[in-house]
């Protein structure tokens, strides 16, 4: 059992586990200490100094986020000295910050602005340093805008990119007054090893790192009478969108989201979940085909393990850092891109609409999806398959702009076609979900029976452990799959690119022997995506994941291969999984990128 220590904060006694910081001890007493560089997902930096408190007996103030509580410690969080010091610190940050708040994308959502407002800072105390700086704005990436003039050097983004993502696209450069957050050789973000995951955007307290928003372009399309504007919504958006519209984390808003999209004026409100189901059909078949070629035909050119390919952050990561494993990637496009390719072919044909007039919009929990939509590989419909990718956050902005009272909306359904989905599709939004969905279908395909887990819940692949392993033994298989009799299908799941790195290194060293590996670029999977509402913390991710599984349990159909629209599209259009048409529209190949 961990030792406890007793301390006193603002006159109140509190006992905490040894190692707990003063900040967390104060939280236990519901004493709020302001912070900026602190983030629950990240290591302690202790560099903004906003969270300073007074410790009796100490000559200096201490940073409560970095100071471990100790026995007999007496802390004061609201003294004259503390107040003055915090005020000074915030004033200093403001003096270096381009405080052009009304023109800032983060206006009213900025942690520095909140602090300044809390402190009622109306007259600047110090000299404005901004005119003396040569701040740069990098707008070249399709996903992320980096504006150094808004940066407060808290290094949350640097820690995020390094600790959570093992990418380190962002680092600290120079020292003293020239110190800044920069990239390799100060190259633009689009030209460095950046996966566009947007985790930095999700953690930036100010407007220094923001998503490139396409809100106006979406409105323009909607208002254009000559355009047929369709929208698809990713699985993880429906359990997070509410957070940006006044609701609690973990609120399921699928029906309200569909209703609001219709009110915004989209011509057809469709669902990425449909192509998530389709992905399972294609990817599941691909896995079984690979297994047959490897196990029966002994084809040495077949690469195992097979990796999932839904996460565009993960795709770019592997392109940069593990290009030798590109052939291990499933050739399936992501659900967003399958949807895009089908929207301007299958959907257009069925509806009798000229695909040239279709504007295909996607609502994604992700900033990397913007980059993915713009990839040259993604034009198999003869057009850019997805025209505009926007984040959950951008959608929330649009809903507010349209004056929609989101919480009071009645639930509505998605349109058809390409609006039908299953529980297997919605769990794509949480880490382990693609694996679970694939196993539900693949197991049944091979054995004719449902997966041997209570209520179809494959709990072994769920959870927030960084890397999880599960194996399923295939017994009494159907005659067509007799080569798989007795095979133990070994799978692994990783989320967040640091964990992906770990699994890749294990595979590289020959220490891991998997058949199928699911990797999601963001911590928690898409529910924790870079385009999701801010803040995203471990607790919020847990609530969103719970909501995803609740949504799954509530669905009538919970296996992808039972989706009636999926059955229909194979009958009417695609033929069979991995068939000729599928290859043309739903599969692709990626290419190596430079490592630096």
């Amino acid at each position: 059992m961990a030792k406890t220590v007793n301390l006193k904060i603002d006159g109140i006694d509190v006992s905490v586990e040894q190692g707990t910081t003063v900040l967390d001890a104060a939280k236990k007493l519901n004493i709020h200490i302001p912070t900026l560089c602190y983030h629950e997902d990240l290591c302690v930096a202790g560099n903004c100094r906003v969270c300073v408190v007074e410790q009796e007996g100490a000559k200096n103030l201490v940073a409560s986020c970095a100071m471990p509580a100790s026995e007999g410690m007496i802390i004061h969080t609201n003294t004259h000295k503390v107040r003055n010091a915090r005020r000074h610190v915030v004033e200093l940050l403001l003096s270096e910050h381009n405080a052009d708040c009304t023109k800032c994308y983060k206006n009213t959502k900025c942690e520095l602005q909140n602090l300044a407002s809390e402190m009622v800072i109306t007259e600047p105390m110090f000299i404005d340093l901004v005119p003396f700086k040569e701040y740069k704005i990098d707008k070249q990436s399709p996903s992320i805008i980096k504006d150094d003039s808004k940066c407060i050097r808290c290094q949350r983004c640097v820690r995020t990119c390094h600790e959570l993502q093992h990418v380190s696209a962002l680092g600290v450069a120079y020292k003293g007054d020239h110190m800044k957050i920069s990239t390799f050789f100060e190259n633009p973000m689009y030209d460095v090893v950046c996966t566009n995951c947007g985790q930095c955007v999700n953690r930036c307290p100010t407007g220094a790192l923001i998503e490139k928003n396409y809100i106006d372009q979406v409105w323009d399309a909607i208002y254009d009478p000559n355009k047929h504007v369709i929208v698809q919504t990713a699985p993880a958006t429906r359990i997070a969108l509410g957070e940006d519209l006044g609701m609690e984390p973990g609120s399921i808003v699928t029906g309200k989201m569909a209703a609001s999209l219709r009110r915004l004026g989209f011509d057809s409100v469709l669902d990425t979940d449909f192509t998530a189901d389709l992905t399972i059909m294609e990817e599941g078949t691909e896995l079984l085909t690979r297994l047959k070629k490897a196990l029966v035909d002994k084809d040495q050119s077949i690469k195992l393990p097979m990796f999932t390919s839904c996460s565009p952050g993960w795709i770019k990561f592997i392109e940069h850092l593990y290009p030798e494993y590109l052939d291990n990637l499933s050739t399936c496009k992501s659900p967003q891109q399958m949807f895009g390719a089908l929207a301007k072919t299958y959907y257009a044909q069925k509806k009798g609409i000229d695909p040239a007039t279709i504007v295909s919009v996607s609502i994604m929990p992700c900033t990397a999806k913007k980059f993915e939509a713009a990839r040259p590989e993604m034009r198999d419909s003869g057009f850019q398959d997805v025209d505009l990718g926007i984040t959950t956050r951008e959608l929330a902005v649009m809903i507010k702009q349209a004056g929609i009272e989101f919480e009071s909306l009645s639930d509505e359904k998605f349109d058809s076609i390409m609006g039908e989905s299953t529980g297997a599709a919605v769990i794509f939004g949480a880490t382990g979900g693609v694996m679970e969905a694939a196993l539900r279908t693949a197991y049944e395909l091979v054995t004719g029976r449902e997966v041997p887990f209570k209520n179809l819940n494959i709990t072994a692949v769920r959870g927030m452990e960084g890397v999880r392993e599960a194996s399923v033994k295939l017994e009494n298989v159907l005659p067509a799959w007799s080569f798989l009799e007795g095979v133990e299908l070994k799978t692994a799941v990783a989320h967040g690119l640091t964990n992906a790195h770990q699994i890749m290194e294990a595979i590289k060293k020959g220490e891991a022997n998997y058949h199928f590996v699911e990797v999601m670029g963001c911590p928690g999977g898409c529910i924790g995506g870079g385009g999701q509402p801010i803040p995203t913390t471990p607790e919020i991710r847990r609530k969103r994941a719970e909501a995803i599984y609740r949504e799954d349990e509530g669905m009538k159909i919970r296996k992808s291969h039972e989706n009636p629209e999926v059955i229909q599209i194979y009958k009417e259009f695609l033929g069979e999984p991995l068939g000729h048409k599928s290859h043309e529209l739903l599969h692709t190949h990626y290419h190596p990128r430079k490592r630096v």
Binding site: C48, R49, A63, G176
Partner: protein, 387 residues
């Protein structure tokens, strides 16, 4: 406070002992004896902060981890300090001896010398001296090993935790404390980090005994110290003097007859004006110094002196913490604005308050000590700041 007379001491550079014998004698002591000797001597760190050396060694020796380190901080970056360079040039083997003795006391097998980037010209000689030292150690039967690492020219890397970061190949940024180096230093292992001069004194104390050292100096500042004397003085140079003398005594010896102020302890130290020479003791009870003693005569503008210091800090701050990174910029811009008349003289008070905040909120010693020179110069030479 009784004023010690100026007394020259010859412990650091003296060669009137047989090095190998001293080393043998020291290394034959038990670790407890070594630590007791250093504790009894009253030796405090000579880098400027003045932490009791024996305590540092004791805390580290008490750590149960098998991997520990001795680090010699030779990142002599404080403006006006040049004594470590001289020590490393003339008596490097004594520095190494101090490290070996410390290694024995705390149970470390490896020592590192972190040498200031600007002292690259010393590298070859130090390496040669190290070869010789390792041979001597082998003859005595010790397998302690010392490695040389180069800094790259950042002042902040003299701050111990930034120095460890730099040694580990990272950006030189100070860490949060606690944990302190005695628990988690280099490679997060228990580490003693001492200034070059401290290590030589520790070594010499093992030879002369703690009493002889303890007899020198004052209650708070035992022993002697090497001073780097520069500025308006006819006799600039390196002097080893007993601690506890007043600035008046010091200026009598080293001044040019027109000394108006002495900056004690470099840019991060204190400025003492003429009227306070008599009552100011050089030592931990008065103004502490890592060795830098800069004399200014009446031809000098204290505004220029201060501006030079804040410019130095503005550039040498690692930039990670707000009070230091932005505070230094504000102090500089602030005094410039007052001088130009863009801000009223009252703005100096705001800047003083800012400096006070920096002192209590900055993450490390760099940001915390900017206020030392700033406040002491602004306080004592206010009219020079305005007119």
């Amino acid at each position: 406070m009784p004023d010690k007379r100026l007394k020259r001491v010859d412990l650091i550079f003296s060669e009137d002992c047989i090095y190998k014998d001293v080393l043998t004698k020291a290394l034959n002591k038990s670790k407890e004896d070594i630590i007791k000797e250093i504790l009894d001597s009253g030796l405090r760190g000579r880098g400027g902060a003045g932490f009791p050396t024996g305590m540092k060694w004791k805390f580290t020796s008490e750590q149960t981890e098998s991997e520990k380190y001795v680090v010699c901080n030779a990142d002599e970056g404080e403006p006006g300090t040049f004594k470590d360079r001289e020590i490393l040039t003339r008596v490097p083997h004594k520095v190494f001896g101090g490290m070996a003795v410390c290694g024995k006391a705390i149970g470390a097998k490896h020592g590192y010398v972190y040498l200031r980037g600007e002292y690259r010209f010393l590298k070859a000689d130090i390496e040669k001296a190290l070869d010789q030292f390792h041979k001597t150690l082998k003859e005595i039967g010790s397998d302690f090993q010392i490695h040389l690492l180069m800094g790259a020219g950042a002042y902040i890397c003299g701050e111990e935790s930034a120095l460890f970061e730099s040694m580990e190949g990272h950006r030189g940024e100070p860490r949060n404390k606690p944990p302190y180096p005695t628990i988690a230093g280099f490679r997060k292992k228990p580490t003693v980090i001492n200034n070059v001069e401290t290590l030589v004194y520790a070594f010499m104390i093992c030879n002369i005994g703690s009493k002889k050292f303890h007899d020198l100096g004052t209650a708070d500042s035992r022993g002697s110290k090497v001073f780097s004397v520069s500025g308006d003085t006819p006799i600039p140079g390196i002097y080893e003097l007993e601690l506890g003398m007043s600035l008046e005594t010091f200026v009598e010896e080293f001044g040019d007859g027109d000394t108006k102020a002495v900056q004690v302890g470099g840019a991060s130290g204190f400025c003492v004006p003429r009227k306070k020479f008599k009552d100011t003791i050089i030592g931990f009870e008065g103004v502490p110094t890592g060795g830098s003693m800069m004399l200014f005569n009446s031809s000098r503008s204290m505004y220029n002196v201060l501006k030079n210091y804040v410019e130095f800090f503005e550039e040498e701050s690692c930039g990670q913490c707000t009070p230091c990174r932005v505070g230094c910029q504000q102090l500089k811009k602030g005094i410039e604005a007052v001088k130009k008349g863009e801000k009223s003289a009252a703005y100096l008070d705001s800047l003083q308050k800012l400096a006070d905040t920096m002192k209590i909120t900055a993450k490390c010693g760099l940001g915390q000590s900017v206020a030392n020179s700033f406040s002491s110069i602004v306080d004592n030479f206010k009219e020079e700041m305005i007119y």
